[in-house]
Symmetry: C2
Subunit: 335 residues, 2 copies
Amino acid sequence: MAASIKDVAREAGVSIATVSRVINKVDVVNEETKKKVKEAIDRLGYSPNIVAQSLKTQRSRSIGILVPDISSQVYPEIVRGAEDVANMYDYSIILCNSDFDMEKEKKYIKVMKEKMVDGLLYTSSSLEPEILEYLQSLQMKTILVETTDEAQQFPSVTIDNRRAAKEAVTRLIEDGHRSIAYIGSKKAKRNAWAKRFEGYEDALKEAGMPVEEAMTYYGDLKAQTGYNGITSIMSSGKRPDAVFCGSDEIAMGVINALRDHDIRVPEDVSVMGFNDIYEASIFYPKISTVAQPLYDMGSVAMRLLVKKLKNELAEEDHYVLPYQLVDRDTVKKRN
Amino acid sequence: MAASIKDVAREAGVSIATVSRVINKVDVVNEETKKKVKEAIDRLGYSPNIVAQSLKTQRSRSIGILVPDISSQVYPEIVRGAEDVANMYDYSIILCNSDFDMEKEKKYIKVMKEKMVDGLLYTSSSLEPEILEYLQSLQMKTILVETTDEAQQFPSVTIDNRRAAKEAVTRLIEDGHRSIAYIGSKKAKRNAWAKRFEGYEDALKEAGMPVEEAMTYYGDLKAQTGYNGITSIMSSGKRPDAVFCGSDEIAMGVINALRDHDIRVPEDVSVMGFNDIYEASIFYPKISTVAQPLYDMGSVAMRLLVKKLKNELAEEDHYVLPYQLVDRDTVKKRN
DNA sequence: CTGTTAGCGCGTTCAT
DNA sequence: ATGAACGCGCTAACAG
C-alpha cells in the first residue's frame, strides 16, 4: 500500500491537517514545519490519493472526450490537441467511442458523471436533442467540438463548414467547372458535415447552376462511399467535370474509382476533398482540399473548457476557427 | 447534487447497507425489499458514485493506455480495439500520449496510479528498464502491446516482428530482387520496430546477400523518412530494386520520392510496407505490406488485462498474433 | 435477511 | 500557526 497522508503526518511529527496544507499551498504554514513535511513526503515517496481528493472536492481532474470513432477520420488529431492542453493543466482524459449510437452516448455520459469528470468535450456525434437535454440535466460542463447545437446553448469550437464548402465549390466554378457532383453526408443530419452540403447548394445557386439529385450521393465519410458514389453517379449517365467530397477519404475513393475507369484526375475530372488529413498530402495525386485546423480545434476546445472549470469567463463562447483552401494536384482550371 | 445512497435508503425506508447490497447484487436480499429499493433508485434517478466506490474498493474501473502518439500510425486502431472490450466489461479508458518521452511516461504512470487505474496497456513507447522497474515497484498490472520486454516479465500481445520482416524480405528475394534497401527504425532501439531490421538482416544473410550500410536509412516511421531515405540512398549512387519499409507511411514517402525521380513502382523498384493501415489499400499504387491485426491486438490485450484483474489465470501470457503478407500493387516479380 | 458501524484518504471548519 | 474531528459516498465485517 502506498503511503497516505497519515503516514506523512506521523513521519513529520505533525497533524494531517498540516500536511494537507502544505500540499495544497493553503494558509501560511511555518517555513520550518513546511520543510519537515516536504522531507517526509520525499522520504515516503508520498503522493496524494486523487480519488480521495475527488470524493472530497467533487472534482476528479479528469475530462471526458466523446468521439464517434477514434480510429477514423479526424478524431485522433483533435484528441491529440485536446490531450496536450489537458496534460498542461494536469487533467487526464477519458476517451469514449460512441459510434453515433445515442444509447451508447448516454451510457458513456452516465459513467462519466459517476466518475465525476469535471467536463466533457463532445465531438460531432449524434447531437440528438435528447442527449443535449441529458447533458444539461446532469449539469455537465460541455464543449461542442466540430459542431454546434441549433440553439447555441453549448459553447463550441468549429469552422464555418457551410461557408468553407461554399467557398470551395465556388472556386471550382470559377475554375471553369460546369458540372459539379457532391459526395458526402446527407443534408438531413444534424452534425457539421451536413452543412457542407448546404454550402455546396449555396455555391451552385449563387452561380445559377441547378442542384441535381442525380449528381449527389450520400453515405458515410469513408473511401468506399467515394468509390461507390462516383460509380453510381456515372452509371446514371452523368459525367461531372468536378467532384466535391465531404472528406479526404471520399476523395481518395473517388480518384481510385475514376482511375479504374481510365478517367484522369485532374485532367478529365477535378476532385476536391475536405479536412486535410495527413494522407491527403501524400496521396497521389496530392489532394486539393479544405483544411480544418484539427489539432487546434482540440486544443482550443480544451482551453475553453479549462477556463470554464476555473469559472473564469471566456472572451468567446463560440469559436469559429479559420479554414483554408489548399491547392494541390487534383483540381485543374478549365477556362 | 445528485442523490446519494443515503437518499435512496431513506426513500425506500431501509438502511444504506441494504441499498448497497441490491446495487452490488450481493447476498440474497428479500425480493420485496429489493423491489422497494429499485423503485426508490428509479424515482431518484440515483446512480452510485464510482469515486466513492473506488476509494473503498481500491478499484476505479478505469484502465490507462499509454501510446506514443494517438494521432500517428497504428494507435487509433489499437486503442479502438481496447476500448471496445473495456466498454464491454464496464471499464473506462484513460488515454495518454507519451511522445516516447520517458519523463512524460513516468509522470503519466504516476498520475494513473494516483487515480487508481486498475491496470495499464503500454504500447511500444520507450520501454526503458527504468520505466519497467517503476511499473513493477508500483505493482501496476501492465500488458505490453506491440512489443515485449527482454525478460518477458510482463504479459504481452505482439506479432513476431522479426519473423514477419524476414518473411517479407525473403518473399522479395524469391521474387527475384537482388538489391534490397531498408528504411525504418534503427536496430539499437528497444521496441518492436527495431526487430524488423533484424528480420531484414536475417533474410539477407540466409540468402547469402550482404547487408550494406549504404542501403539502409534510419528514422521515425513517417512518410518524410521514406522520402528522405530513398533520396539519400540513391544519391549515394545505389539503385535498389526493392525497398523494405518499417511502416506504410514510409512506403508512401518512398513511392512519392521515386515518382519525383520518374522511377516507376513496381516496374522499376518494388516497395513493401508494414502494418497495413487503412490508407495502404487506398493509396496509388496499392501498397503491398505486412498486415498487423491492430484492432485485435488492442482487444486481445484488453481481454488479457481484464482476465488478470479478475485474477483468473490466462491460458497464455504472451500472445503472438498472426501477421499476414498482403500482396497488392507495389511489388513485382523479377524472375 | 437486514441494520449498525468502521474506515477508505483527504479537505475543512472550529478551536486553541 | 497548528491540531482534533467531522464527513464526502460507499463497502464490508459484524451483530442481530
